[in-house]
Symmetry: C2
Subunit: 396 residues, 2 copies
C-alpha cells in the first residue's frame, strides 16, 4: 500500500495495528484522523462474529445499514457459480453497507470496500477507506478503485525511492565513505541504511513539491551513489542477489542448478519465485539425507565417511555430481548444520560449506553463522548466491 501510495505522491506517516476491539479501533481512527488526510483501514469485514469493523464504521460516521443490490448479486453469483456452496444468511450480510459510504466492488471476494468522506476541523475533506484484510482482495480493490480515485484529487508532492544493494562491507564502513556526500544531500533527499542478511541496502528517498525537479535530482544522486559504492554493488535495484544472478544468466544465455543439503530447497525457491526463472533455472537435487548425496549426486560413500557431509570435499563432489546429472552450466552446492541440534565441537551449529561454479572451475567458501535455524538457512542461501554471482562476474 505504502509503495503504491508513494508512487502517486501520497506520503505514509504511520501504520497502526489494533485488535478487533471497538474502543481500540475508534481511538485509532480518532488519532489517525486528527493529523492525516487519508486513512486506509484493512480487515474486520468478514462474516464471523469477530468481524466488527463495518457496523463500527457505520456508527462512527452516523449512517445506517442498507442492502446494496449490486453487492448482493455479486455475493450470490460467487456462492452459486464459483464456490458452489449454499449461501448462508451471514453471507448475505456481506451485501449490507452503511448508507453514507461509496461502495467499492470486490471482484475477488464477497466483502466490498467502503469509501467515506468527512469534513475535517480545518474544512478539508478527510477520506477514510475500509478494505478487506485478505491480501489479494485488498490489493485488487486498491489497484482498481482506491488509487484511481485518489489520483483524481489534487496531487501536491512527488515521492521517489531509489534503492541499491551492497555486499562486502558493514553499514559503519559505508557510512564513513559516504559521510561528506551524504552531508551535502539537499534537504529534500534522505538516505537510509537498511542492513540485512549480512548486506546493506541503501535507499534514497526524494520528496518535494509536484512542480520541483526532485525526480531528476534523485536520479542524479542515485547515479553518484552507485559510483561511490561501485566495488560493493550487487544490484542497482530494490532486489536480492538472485535477481542479479538471474539477469546475468539470462544475458549470458546460461543455466543454473543447485544441490542443497542444509538449505533444503530454499535456494531453488529463491530462483523459482521469480517470474521467468525457466529461462535460466534447470532444477535441483535436495540431498538432505546422505543416501540422496550418494544416489543422485554420485558423492562417494567413502568421502562422506572420511570427510563428513559438511566439508569442502563433499560440497565439491556434490557440485560436480549436480552439473553432470543436470547438464546445467553453473551450479551451487551447500552443506551445513543449521541447528538447533546436530552440531559438534569441531563443527558447531552454523558451520556451512558452499561450492559454486562450473564444471571447468569453481570456488569454495566456509561460513560460521550464529543465528537460529530459519535465519541460518536464509543467510546460507543468500551468501551462496552471492558467491556464484561474484564467481561469474570475475570470469574472464
Amino acid at each position: 500500500m505504502a509503495q503504491q501510495l508513494n508512487a502517486i505522491g501520497i506520503w505514509v506517516k504511520r501504520r497502526i495495528a489494533v485488535g478487533d476491539d471497538k474502543k481500540e479501533i475508534q481511538q485509532a481512527l480518532d488519532e489517525a484522523l486528527s493529523d492525516a488526510d487519508i486513512v486506509l483501514i484493512t480487515g474486520g469485514l468478514g462474516p464471523t462474529a469477530d468481524d466488527i469493523t463495518k457496523p463500527l464504521l457505520c456508527e462512527y460516521f452516523g449512517g445506517k445499514m442498507i442492502t446494496d443490490e449490486k453487492v448482493l448479486q455479486h455475493v450470490t453469483h460467487i456462492f452459486q457459480h464459483i464456490l458452489k456452496r449454499p449461501l448462508l444468511e451471514r453471507n448475505l450480510k456481506q451485501a449490507e453497507v452503511p448508507d453514507n459510504c461509496r461502495v467499492l466492488m470486490n471482484q475477488k471476494g464477497t466483502a466490498p470496500g467502503m469509501w467515506f468522506e468527512k469534513k475535517g476541523e480545518n474544512g478539508t475533506n478527510k477520506i477514510i477507506v475500509s478494505l478487506p484484510g485478505v491480501p489479494h482482495e485488498m490489493k485488487g480493490i486498491v489497484t482498481e478503485k482506491v488509487l484511481p480515485l485518489l489520483q483524481t484529487k489534487q496531487k501536491t508532492s512527488t515521492i521517489i525511492h531509489r534503492t541499491l544493494l551492497t555486499a562486502g562491507a558493514g553499514e559503519s564502513f559505508i557510512a564513513e565513505r559516504l559521510q561528506n556526500w551524504e552531508a551535502d544531500l539537499p534537504e529534500t533527499i534522505k538516505l537510509a541504511y537498511l542492513p540485512n542478511y549480512g548486506m546493506v541496502r541503501l535507499r534514497l528517498t526524494g520528496r518535494d513539491r509536484i512542480d520541483s525537479d526532485i525526480e531528476r535530482l534523485t536520479e542524479k544522486k542515485f547515479e553518484e551513489l552507485q559510483d561511490l559504492v561501485s566495488d560493493l554493488l550487487v544490484i542497482a535495484a530494490d532486489a536480492m542477489p538472485e535477481k542479479a544472478l538471474g539477469d546475468l544468466l539470462l544475458a549470458k544465455n546460461k543455466t543454473i542448478a543447485t544441490a542443497e543439503s542444509c538449505t533444503g530447497g530454499y535456494i531453488a525457491h529463491l530462483f523459482t519465485s521469480m517470474a521467468g526463472a525457466s529461462g535460466f533455472y534447470k532444477g535441483s537435487v535436495i540431498a538432505y539425507d546422505n543416501s540422496i548425496k550418494t544416489g543422485l549426486l554420485n558423492v562417494s560413500k567413502n568421502l562422506l565417511e572420511t570427510k563428513g557431509a559438511v566439508s569442502e570435499e563433499t560440497v565439491t563432489a556434490m557440485l560436480n555430481g549436480l552439473l553432470e546429472q543436470t547438464g546445467a552450466d553453473y551450479g551451487i552446492a551447500v552443506s551445513g548444520i543449521m541447528g538447533p541440534r546436530g552440531g559438534s565441537e569441531e563443527k558447531p551449529v552454523g558451520t556451512v560449506w558452499v561450492a559454486a561454479g562450473s564444471a571447468q572451475q569453481h570456488v569454495t567458501k566456509s561460513f560460521h553463522f550464529r543465528f537460529d535455524r530459519q535465519r541460518n538457512i536464509q543467510l546460507t542461501a543468500v551468501q551462496a548466491v552471492l558467491l556464484l554471482l561474484q564467481f561469474i562476474r570475475s570470469e574472464p
Copy 2:
C-alpha cells in the same frame, strides 16, 4: 514480542510503525504513553545518520549522553575479535547512552537496549524500553533482559491462546456450526477466525485476572472446539500442515521425498524449515526443466510430449520415479503453471496437478488457483502437503 508478552500476562494494545522522523517518533511516544503502561520501541539505534532514536529518547526523558564503560569494552571486543574490522569513531558512539536509563547489554550486537522509567499522570510508573531493530539482537535482549525484568513487576492478568487449524470448509460454514457454542463462551474468552491458504485457523484467547481459573476454562473450551470441528481438524496447534505430516511420519517411522516442478523447492523448504526434519525427510528432485523430469525422475519424453508437463499422468510418473530414486516411503509430486506467463486456453495460469502417496498406492488432484505467482506457489505447496496428510490418515 506480543506472544512473549502475552505469555507473562501482558496484553498488547497496539503496534505502531513510524519513519525515522523526530516529530513522528515523539508524537507516537506521547500517544503510546497516554494509555499504555509499557512501551517497547525497536530500531533507530545504529551508527548511521538516519539512526536518530537514541538522542531523541535522551532529550525526551531529559537526560544527557555518557559513555558506558561496559558497553565500550563490549563494542571494542566485537570489532577486534569477532568482526576483525577497524573500530571507527561512529562505532564507539554505540557505547554512549543517556544517563537516566538502565543499560541492557546486547550480546549479539553493538547497540545496547535502554530501559527508562517515568512517572505517569496517575502516579504509576511507565516503562519505556528501546531495542535494536535487527531481529535476532532484539530477540536476544527481550529474552535475556526485558522479559525477566517485566516479570518482577506485579502480574495482574493471565492470557492464554489456543489455536487449531482446519481445512475443508469456509469460515462462514464453520461459524454457522459454532454459532451457539460461540454465543455461550464466557466474556473472558474470545474466538477469532483466521482464514489463510484456503484453510481456517481458529484461535481462542482467554484473558482474566491472575487468580481466576481462565487457564483451565480455556483448555476446556479448546477441547470442546476440537470436538466440534474434528472432521476438519488438521492440527490442534498454531502450526501448518507440514508440522502435522512431519509428526505423523515420525510416529510411523516413515520417510518422505518431493518431486517439484512449479513449486520449485518450496515444499522441500517447508519440511526442512522444521528442526528435526532429518528424522523423516530424505530429499527432493526439483524438476523445473523437462530435462530433469526425464533425466532424474525417469518420466518418459513421449509422455511429456503427449500429455504435457502439467497433467495427471506426468505427476504420477514423477511420483513413481521419485520413490524409486530416493527410496522414500511416501512422496509428493507437483506440476503446474504459476504465472504470470505460461498459461494457455486449455491450461490457464493457476492450473496444478498433484500426486501424493506411496509406491503401492497414491491419489491425484487438480487445482485451479487464481492468484499471483507467489501466492499460487504457496497454495500449491500447502494443498499438496494436505493431500498427502489426508492420504496417510485414511490408510488402513
